[in-house]
Symmetry: C2
Subunit: 136 residues, 2 copies
């Protein structure tokens, strides 16, 4: 009986943790440019860590990002990515370009069944962020 | 006017993408052991990719995981993690142990203000998964 589906355990994805180089630089990026809110902060002076939770909804109900900066610890490259749906991607991309954000893929029309516009950008630690304006 | 908060653009985190070595091995792990459902699959034969979306709710409303296996592409280590809230972590951990899952940190009581039990496990590609039984 190792099949989770037969058992009443309840699950929820709380967050994706990204290790970052500078907590304030990342908070600025995700709030000012990508519209997230700071939901919670905590410090761990003993571990040399500064931690911020950012997202679009309450932590109790939505999946958020946990950003952790650790003193003296370099950020490793990441081959994954975060995807964010955006209601008006043209307007957002114009704003991101004006702010000097680096694009991994410029805004373009796509037709993959779910999205009609896509752009890929790098966050301050060069983590890839996929931005989609969804079809319908 | 680069402050996203003053503008009606709407955002939502769609998924976190994890590159995996074997799509069926990862789908089995996240569905059978961690209770997710397969929400969508797509193949990209030209790109040698197999893609599965897994999660606890509909893609239109919750943040899910996008698992991508790419032929001939090794999976790089990741220093981030995914955190999952679990309603009965003791039962789940017993099940995971019986299944031979590797623990990065065994089940232990904690008191950090949000969780009362925590365990950390590795997924099949050695990505870190934090499991929390939340306080209250």
């Amino acid at each position: 009986m190792s099949d989770a589906a037969t058992n009443p355990i309840r699950f929820r994805i709380r967050h994706t943790m990204l290790p970052v180089g500078d907590i304030e630089r990342s908070v600025d990026f995700y709030t000012r440019l990508l519209g997230m809110r700071v939901l919670r902060r905590r410090a761990d002076p003993a571990g040399g860590r500064n931690i911020a939770y950012v997202g679009y909804g309450e932590e109790a109900h939505t999946t958020v990002l946990e950003l952790i900066a650790t003193d003296g610890q370099a950020v490793e490259p990441w081959t994954g990515h975060i995807a964010i749906a955006v209601s008006d991607l043209r307007t957002l991309c114009a704003r991101l370009q004006a702010d000097g954000v680096t694009f991994a893929m410029p805004l373009k029309a796509i037709d993959n069944g779910t999205s009609r516009l896509q752009a890929n950008i790098y966050d301050p630690d060069r983590f890839l962020i996929e931005l989609n304006e969804l079809a319908e």
